[in-house]
């Protein structure tokens, strides 16, 4: 407890940055993933190919390597300067977007074939079939797995600790500079993560029950 109280500044600073990383990455990943997901289910071959290529390469690359590229590779390209925090957000977003895209895609796949056919059979055009019938149902099916994606994102923010972002995963380094035992700080960090994940999981269950489409 002393470790926590004496170094409260470190913990608050660390988790504040964790939450910043988390929320910005989540939003960007959602938008980017939505676009990629749309590409993935598009009837246009080249769009599907681009979507598939993006998902397959990024998903098969460790997040750590993507962050490595962003933190050390990007600055070498003499493009506009970006802070390490923002580079970490970019890496997390690019990585998480692939999972968002796949979740959206499988969410659409959970809507039974018959739903789209029935919509077409009463004369709804493509746009309305999507907006009135498919997406509202897919959206509900997507919520639980999407929350899992966000839970994973939350945990993945710790990887930024290796790339000069002072977030929860880096608290241990600062603590050991202050001569605190690593284990105590790490256990506190783990505990806070377990709580945060618990909150998200609770939310997930709540939303799932609220939105479930009875079939």
């Amino acid at each position: 407890m002393d470790t926590l109280l004496n170094n409260f500044d470190l913990f608050t600073e660390g988790f504040k940055n964790t939450l910043i990383l988390f929320s910005f990455s989540a939003i960007i990943a959602l938008v980017l993933g939505g676009v990629v997901g749309a590409f993935r289910v598009s009837p246009v071959t080249s769009m599907r190919a681009v979507g598939t290529f993006y998902v397959n390469t990024i998903r098969n690359t460790p997040l750590t390597l993507i962050m490595f590229f962003c933190a050390f590779g990007y600055p070498k390209l003499q493009l506009p300067e970006i802070s390490y925090m923002n580079l970490a957000i970019i890496a997390l977003s690019v990585y998480t977007a692939t999972y968002v895209a796949e979740t959206l895609r499988s969410g659409i796949n959970t809507v039974p074939l018959g739903q789209a056919e029935a919509a077409r059979a009463i004369g709804l055009p493509f746009g309305q079939t999507m907006t009135l019938i498919i997406l509202p149902q897919a959206f509900r099916a997507v919520i639980p797995p999407m929350m899992s994606v966000f839970i994973a994102l939350l945990k993945n923010t710790t990887v930024a600790a290796g790339f000069s972002v002072m977030e929860a995963g880096a608290v241990k380094n600062y603590l050991s500079e202050r001569g605190e035992p690593a284990i105590v700080g790490l256990l506190w960090v783990a505990l806070v993560f377990i709580l945060l994940v618990g909150v998200l999981a609770f939310l997930q269950r709540k939303l799932e029950n609220m939105w479930k489409v009875a079939r």
Binding site: A118, A119, A121, I122, G123, L124, Q128, I133, A214
Partner: protein
Amino acid sequence: MASRGYRVGMTDSESAPGAAQLNAFETTSNPILADIGKPLVVVSGVEKFYGEFHALKNINLTVTKGEVVVVIGPSGSGKSTLCRTINRLETISAGEILIDGKKLPEEGKALATLRADVGMVFQSFNLFAHKSILENVALGPVKVRKRQRADAEMAARMLLDRVGVGEQADKMPAQLSGGQQQRVAIARALAMKPKVMLFDEPTSALDPEMINEVLDVMVELAAEGMTMIVVTHEMGFARRAADRVVFMAEGEIIEEAEPEAFFTNPQSDRAKDFLSKLLTN
């Protein structure tokens, strides 16, 4: 795979594209009887391939206004496929389909408009799971026919009453029994005031006691003069309501006849075999 121009079966009349723009079925009144007998659905020389697999082989079929055609045949014979090509849920590989004298459009608004004129009832009901019963029925009229929501809902309630599920209007589909869901699905199709109704095994996913409540609605619809194409195994329905029975096997129309003639005296061996299997018990 162009249509080779010869016909199988008995309905060889070529379509006579008519000016009949009246809705064949009004939910509140009986159909205009004047048009009865004009060809409404004309399927000619239709071929369908799934990759290598030849699912429909030179299908020719004409359904006239007010006619009720029952399609039977063993599993996998292409009954569903035929039914679904008629509102282009499946594309065809060759041949032509005319609805009320007009060629089936290939896409876009024209196709959507045509589909609105062709009601379809599926084996698995396919009610929109996230919308209430009332919304299911009113959705088409509001979004496709651009009717006022209030009007559409009023009409929907009347239709639901007619098929006997008026009480359930505000429930969700999952809360209804299969028989009730299927009757809602019929109401949903009727709400579009279609010229022809397609039924693809509408009772085969139902518990036995519920089969009749759905068949009763269909019999009534037939009696009121609706043009219907019905894929079903219910021989009782075929006997009571069909004008014609079409027997399919392996993607071909093997036999067409009046129900009594077909059931008592099938011509082909395959039909005999099929019927004997069905009727022994």
